[in-house]
Symmetry: C2
């Protein structure tokens, strides 16, 4: 048994059983050790951003970490953007980052770099093994750290000699999970008193307070006239029929403030006071109306769902609140737009579906049209780094065989990680990838005006357009082994989507927007 064996044994002991891998020479011992431990499922990704995005999708659905296998600093770098997204979703992930042998580091060989510095900004925990006998304990520590609360990616640097040298594994170390702490009853009572006194109170739910229990408890408060909002982008939110549907903090700051006009108390559950996604000249950053007080019902270290329940009890709320009915949208034939795509998705979304949303400007109409669809999970782009839609769907499908996964992607967004299509094909994952092909970074055309930069001239227009050449998604998908269809009108899209929902396996639908 060598260090790599002890690592994999420890990961499995702690229920880490999926590995999204893009290995290089320094990771060969880990790769070889996988042959000796079939309980770990290796999934090859052709680019590290696919591996890390897949680990994010896996963690959000499985509620436990997958591991990634990355090749030194540059490999982590390629995976960094989706680990940024994972940080903002508080997703547990264990990164195994291969490094040069400890004694080789001093020579500053070409692939050497300061891995700890590169990984630090997006990791909740970074440590390097310095000897083979440390590997197992560090692996358990990494798993424990990844759970938080509030959870995130833990980065274990594995020098090659620590992997290949013999190691003793007397007992497989168990990860210590801190767990969320129980809310403080006195604090909850104080929030209850303020809420009673408030004229227009809102409760804002963060990532960790959007599970089924939290939503059910929040629905109870809604019956009392407390408005329930979530942060704009939630890592995983159960939605659809039978679930309570809170409002969503609006994306643009001035719209959010208009929406919140008159609110005099904002109670925060596992989140911070809302801030605009970007700053704009002369517009507010903090989205708390003037005169509105903020108060913390539960921090991210506390059990927000329990706190909401306690608040509901303290306010004498009924035992349950409103939930969405099951209701499919009416057919919307005609011109293909995000709204008509939304109607088709809402009409055919199967129960238990998982929606991976990197749809950028096209997402809102799909959200609207699926409010009363059968129960499903919606996973948003939490960190704003586009290129997560396809990778996240890989991880979700690996975590939940038997559930249909729908991946929504702006065409610009999908071009960051198209390599993920190949992994969908290789693993035969039940994922339908939708590409909203508007041949533009459409959001930037909006943002150009909002930042006061004015209308695009020829140079700027060229930097915002994806036309010339037009990306041929059918050929691109074919090149990577995924069958694909192009739809130019709403009928064709509905037919293609309905068929995709009825048949298993990966496919891509290009929604060719006019």
């Amino acid at each position: 048994m060598n260090g790599a064996d002890t690592l994999i044994e420890t990961l499995i002991e702690n229920d880490v059983t999926a590995c999204f891998a893009n290995p290089g020479t320094s990771e060969m011992q880990f790769v070889s050790a996988l042959d000796r431990q079939p309980a770990m499922r290796p999934v090859l990704c052709l680019f590290e951003g696919v591996a890390t995005g897949a680990a994010d999708g896996y963690g959000r659905i499985a509620g436990k970490p997958a591991c990634t296998l990355l090749h030194l600093g540059p490999g982590y770098g390629n995976g960094l953007a989706n680990l940024h997204n994972a940080r903002r979703a508080f997703t547990p992930i264990v990164n195994v980052i291969g490094d040069h042998a400890t004694y080789h580091r001093r020579y500053d060989a070409p692939l050497a770099s300061d891995i700890a510095a590169i990984a630090g900004a997006n990791s909740v925990w970074v440590k390097s093994a310095e000897g083979p006998d440390q590997v197992a304990d560090l692996a358990a520590e990494a798993v424990g750290a990844s759970y938080g609360p509030p959870g995130g990616s833990a980065s274990l640097i594995l020098p090659a000699d620590c992997a290949w040298s013999p190691a003793v594994l007397a007992a497989r170390p168990k990860a210590i999970r801190r767990g969320k702490s129980h809310p403080d009853g006195t604090a909850v009572e104080a929030v209850a008193r303020r809420m009673k006194a408030a004229k227009k109170p809102v409760l804002v739910l963060g990532q960790g307070a959007c599970g089924e229990a939290a939503l059910a408890a929040a629905a109870r408060l809604a019956t009392l006239g407390v408005r329930i909002l979530t942060d704009t982008f939630i890592g995983r939110q159960p939605r659809g029929a039978g679930r309570f549907l809170p409002d969503r903090m609006m994306y643009f700051g001035e719209q959010a403030l208009e929406d919140l006009a008159g609110v005099d108390l904002m109670a925060l559950v596992e989140t911070d006071p809302p801030a605009a996604f970007f700053a704009y000249p002369g517009r507010p950053s903090l989205l708390v109306p003037e005169g509105c007080e903020t108060t913390v019902l539960a921090s991210r270290e506390q059990d927000g769902a329990a706190a909401i329940s306690m608040l509901a009890e303290a306010l004498g709320a009924p035992a349950s609140g409103p939930v969405q009915p099951l209701e499919r949208p009416a057919p919307r034939p005609g011109v293909l737009t995000p709204s008509t795509v939304g109607a088709a998705v809402g009409r055919h979304l199967p129960e238990g579906a998982i929606v991976c949303d990197d749809g950028v400007t096209a997402s809102q109409p799909i959200l609207n049209a699926t409010r009363s669809a059968p129960p499903h999970d919606w996973m948003a782009l939490t960190g704003g780094a586009i290129g997560l839609g396809i990778p996240m769907s890989i991880g979700a499908a690996v975590a939940a065989p038997g559930r249909k996964v729908i991946s929504l992607n702006g065409d610009g967004a999908a071009m960051y990680t198209p390599q993920g299509l190949w992994t969908l094909a290789r693993e035969g994952l039940d994922v339908t990838v939708i590409i909203f092909a508007n041949r533009n970074y459409r959001v930037l055309n909006i943002e150009l005006g909002r930042t006061g930069a004015g209308n695009p001239g020829p140079a700027a227009a060229k930097l915002l357009s994806l036309d010339d050449p037009r990306i041929d998604w059918l050929s691109l998908a074919k090149g990577l082994g995924v069958p694909a269809t192009r739809c130019d009108d709403a009928d064709a899209f509905e037919t293609a989507f309905a068929r995709a929902m009825a048949e298993p396996g990966p496919r891509l639908i290009e929604a060719a927007l006019p």
Copy 2:
């Protein structure tokens, strides 16, 4: 005039005239300012790794920096791997990294992260503007820093408000370039004395000492029986007919040590004592034979070419040394292998060509077959982070219109940055992309054995194979707007390559290896 305008004006004043961009909201002012300054050429890349690799290729050929335009921490992250390669090539680059407005940072909005920490490991200089009037001076400082010596990427963080706020630009600040220092005559004399006394001396040339002047000077020493070697991977090396061809430090350590057997003096020019690319169990890291002394002829801060000339004078070398004859390889029809591909490349490589090498296990035969081709530049993968071949060719072609660019790519390597094909098509660049399709991470099959990990079992084999599904490069290239050909034998490849050399514009040739 706003901060973004002062930035672009200052860059142009300092001869930075190409911008490889993948912008987001926080970069809209920069994008808009490009419309007011046509001297800067913007090139849209659909992924940041393409932008940074292009800037590397541009800098190597132009001998001056391009700028990149990147979107906060995740945007830099996506570009990190190719900036790692650029660091190892000492390529001057100015990264412009957009950030949240200074006053917005405190809210920790979703896209916020510690940009300075992420960028630090691969930058020679990192600073953030804190107000619009600082931008121009910092831009000039960044340009100056990027030149080094030895040169590298300078990262200027540009908060959105520093870009959009009015700024005064009294005089466009000039970058201060330190320049390499002249070698110390006494030190050169000391090396000369040791070289005279040595039985088997070698001179090892690093990145900065492989220009035409350095090679010509080194050839003079070769006439005296001094063996001339370069580091294994050189950022830009003039090769072919009329140039001196030094030997190349071998990749695998034990082969390098065998090759260096008996060497008793190693004089280093702008490089460090050679070390193995990776460590392997029981094999040496440092590639200096036992009993061999090392001495520094010139550091990376010194003018290595001048030092070699001085050494040649001190040793009484003739005024010139051997150069390669012009000699095309014989035709090699039959089975398609890297060697037969090499023969075709050697037979048809035009004068002035630039070869961008990310060919991994296929490169050596191409290097061999082009030793006596017409004069050309060869640009290697200096940092070991595969995925540079296509991006680098973009930058080389932008820097040198009129020169043919050939991009060599392993299929695994090309899958890191296939998005670059789209930019080749959009810009109509004269680049021929060759894909060595062996449907394997072939190098890892070799490395698996060398690291003592043994033969791959089913799990490991699956992680090293790119088959299942087989990547269809013709479809993939078509999807991104680049015409492509697949070749299954050496004749077909030679025909396709000859045609590509005769016609301008981007194209892709899949060398489908058996």
